[in-house]
């Protein structure tokens, strides 16, 4: 009986490609965010609103990840920014090689912000580095204020929390203060924005903050 010591990361292949994506973004002066949330929290609406609010200030490109259909890419394409759709065909998260391959078909000329919209899922995308500068987690008020406690790994790995659908608060049994408290108990470094894609509340401060993060 003999034992071989291996000590190799199970996700090492993904990590190597994520690192090369990261170097690619850096060398092209692109600031990149990985948008993660549960399905239906408003990721694509946030992308649309971000483009509408920021388009005159800096250039944006989008990678859309979905289990099926190119519906989201079509919504973004209507706003005249470079967009590519990744269809995972059932897979529950994006991986770094998918992002690398999709970069081939994206016009990144002068792009300063790349938004990668992940598959709607608060579990699996937490474990996969895509090479992004940071993860931005979105929670909508309709999901309830205990969401961060149920999916701690995602909230711990994110740098920004967007609380979306803030306009619906009068109709919901959701305390935004409690939601923020729960999120900060897991990750006190979280930068928090409160937004509504219907009223545009919070979009200016979100976009100003994005602008401050761009590589000069």
């Amino acid at each position: 009986m003999s034992v071989l010591t291996v000590e190799r990361k199970v996700l090492e292949k993904n990590e190597v490609i994520a690192q090369s994506n990261r170097e690619f973004f850096k060398s092209h002066n692109i600031f990149s965010i990985n948008l993660v949330s549960s399905p239906g929290s408003g990721k694509t609406s946030i992308v649309e609103k971000t483009i509408a609010t920021c388009q005159n200030k800096f250039k944006i490109a989008v990678i859309e990840g979905d289990v099926q259909t190119d519906l989201d890419a079509r919504r973004v394409d209507a706003l005249s920014v470079p967009v590519v759709q990744i269809v995972t065909n059932g897979a529950c998260h994006l991986e770094a090689p998918l992002v690398r391959d999709s970069l081939q078909s994206l016009d990144l000329n002068e792009v300063e912000l790349l938004i990668i919209e992940n598959v709607g899922n608060l579990v699996c995308p937490a474990g996969y580095d895509l090479g992004e500068d940071m993860k931005v987690v979105i929670v909508s008020t309709t999901e309830g204020d205990d969401k961060p406690l149920k999916y701690p790994a995602m909230f711990r790995n994110a740098s920004v929390l967007i609380i979306n659908k803030i306009d619906l608060l009068p109709y919901l049994n959701c305390s935004v203060e409690e939601l923020e408290k729960n999120a900060l108990s897991i990750n006190p470094q979280l930068k928090i924005f409160r937004t509504s894609c219907t009223t545009s509340e919070g979009m200016d401060s979100w976009c100003n903050w994005l602008k401050s993060q761009l590589r000069k």
Binding site: S2, V3, L4, V6, R8, L11, C124, G127, R156, S185
Partner: protein, 114 residues
Amino acid sequence: MHELSIAQNIIEIVNDNLNDHQKNIVKSVRVKVGKLTNILPDSLVFSFEALVKDTDLDGAVLEIEHLPIKIKCAECGAVSTSDDFLFSCEKCGGNQIKILSGNEFLVSEIELND
């Protein structure tokens, strides 16, 4: 839920570390799984067993070593460990903490029947 593709990664790492003779005498593969990885052990073992069936690795057992969350408080310096999710210091309650352990996901050892 992506344990099948993860099991495939584990098998590739095992094959990468063994010659053809060794591949046929693997008794067990030991992986270390941190609490923060969200991996389902039963599903991972099931996927591993399904993928190695009728291959050189048929019969190899996947052994999972769970690693708890270990944190160090930036305020009082205390180290706390928990098998549950833990993001604040157990001594002073502070939440400015550094995660020392819990994110690991490694193929650590391969045991051979030789």
